[in-house]
Amino acid sequence: MKLKAIVETLGCKVIYKGGAFDTKDVRNVIASDLMSDVLVVDKDHLLLITSLPSDQTIRTSDIVGAHAVLVVNNKSLPASMVSLAKELDVTLMQSPLTKFESCVMIGKLMNPT
């Protein structure tokens, strides 16, 4: 699943478009506001869905090698978070939907049946 498909289906705003945006496939998704939970996930090609807009969300994504962070509920993003996303080249997107709605729609995108 390409990040572009998620952006189009959910009506996301792309805050920062990283190098992985057009090239990498998302194969695993974790939805969590607890970075400790994200850090125990042992999967690659990851998308992180969260309602925690913080610098450490970006740092955590960088450490686990996630392709992108999707912040739900149109939460406003601190400027430091955006600049860190640029610095570490982590794609940062904003969804107008709730976390549950975002997850459902991405789930359908991944498993169309």
Binding site: D33, L34, M35, S36, D37, V38, L39, V40, D44, L52, S54, D55, Q56, T57, R59, T60, D62, I63, V64, G65, S80, L88
Partner: protein
């Protein structure tokens, strides 16, 4: 075989530069062992034997008259005229060098004239030295040795160190969330540059990040050290307190002493220490209340052979 196996026209620039920079007077043997015209050939023979040389210029008060080579001596022995004066049998058709000529000139003379040595004169045409191929080889070796040292000093130190081990120290302050993760990111970058598999890089990065977060959240501040050699990565977090009263309890998943502020940042779920242990091949924690805590995690690296080649 060439007398001097260096081409004074087609060599690396460092050599060409040396051959031009060095003058004959820098390389020649001086003072010179000489004979006088009236000396018997036998005396020159002894001079050669005692000084282990194969050519003796004939000169008086700096003025050069000729040269006697070992070949002339052999012929004198053969012809039975070793008691004759040198003046009768010396070579007078000579090729000489001037002391201010560049060494490249001297080398080309060895090729051109096939002599084993050349007398060296100064501007006043006085004999000041003698140049043999041995003098050239020895001085070139010394000069190349010096040049090599200079070139080596210019190499970036990191590039040499990277071959074997890399060590990085990071200072981590209490509650400094802004910088937590910088060390882990730097470590991730080092390993990525060396083409280790992504899964292994993630294990090291996650362990390092959890250790940094622990230092920020729980300690009064401390140091974080990354050390790698070809076999393993070692991560060491050492803080200055307050220490953990019950390490066994702290290791239990879900047990936490983190406050709400830390939890609001997405941490402090009581999972960090376990996650470090899970990602490490060796894990060790030591703590003393009032003194501090040391956490060490070792991750073994695949051998060079197993390492994927860059694509």
């Amino acid at each position: 075989m060439k007398a001097i196996p260096v081409n004074p026209e087609q060599s690396p620039l460092v050599i060409l530069d040396l051959l031009f920079k060095l003058k004959i007077k820098d390389v020649m043997s001086s003072p010179v062992i000489t004979a006088m015209r009236k000396d018997p050939m036998r005396k020159v023979q002894y001079l050669m034997r005692d000084n282990r040389i194969s050519g003796v210029p004939v000169a008086e008060r700096g003025r050069l008259f000729g040269i006697v080579s070992i070949n002339d001596i052999i012929q004198a022995l053969d012809g039975g005229y070793s008691d004759d004066a040198v003046a009768l049998h010396m070579t007078t058709q000579m090729v000489v060098l001037e002391e201010d000529m560049p060494l490249s000139f001297g080398i080309s003379y060895f090729e051109k004239f096939k002599f084993g040595r050349f007398p060296v004169l100064n501007k006043e045409n006085r004999l000041v030295g003698i140049l043999s191929s041995r003098d050239v080889s020895a001085s070139l070796l010394v000069e190349l040795h010096n040049e090599y040292h200079k070139l080596e000093a210019k190499l970036p130190l990191a590039a040499i160190k990277d071959v074997n081990t890399i060590t990085r120290h990071f200072r981590v302050e209490r509650f400094d969330f802004e910088n937590a993760g910088k060390a882990a990111h730097a470590i991730k970058k080092i390993l990525s540059e060396q083409n280790y598999p992504p899964a292994l890089i993630r294990r090291v990065a996650v362990a390092a990040y959890e250790m940094e977060i622990n230092l920020v959240v729980h300690s009064l501040g401390g140091t974080f050290t990354f050390h790698m050699d070809p076999e393993k990565v070692e991560l060491l977090a050492a803080d200055e307190g307050p220490g953990i009263p019950n390490v066994e309890l702290a290791m239990q998943e879900g047990y936490t002493t983190a406050n709400d502020w830390i939890k609001s940042l997405g941490f402090g779920a009581g999972m960090g220490l376990n996650n470090i242990r899970r990602n490490a091949d060796e894990f060790n924690i030591q703590s003393a209340v009032g003194r501090g805590t040391t956490v060490r995690a070792t991750i073994l690296l695949p051998s060079e052979r197993d390492k994927p080649q860059p694509t």
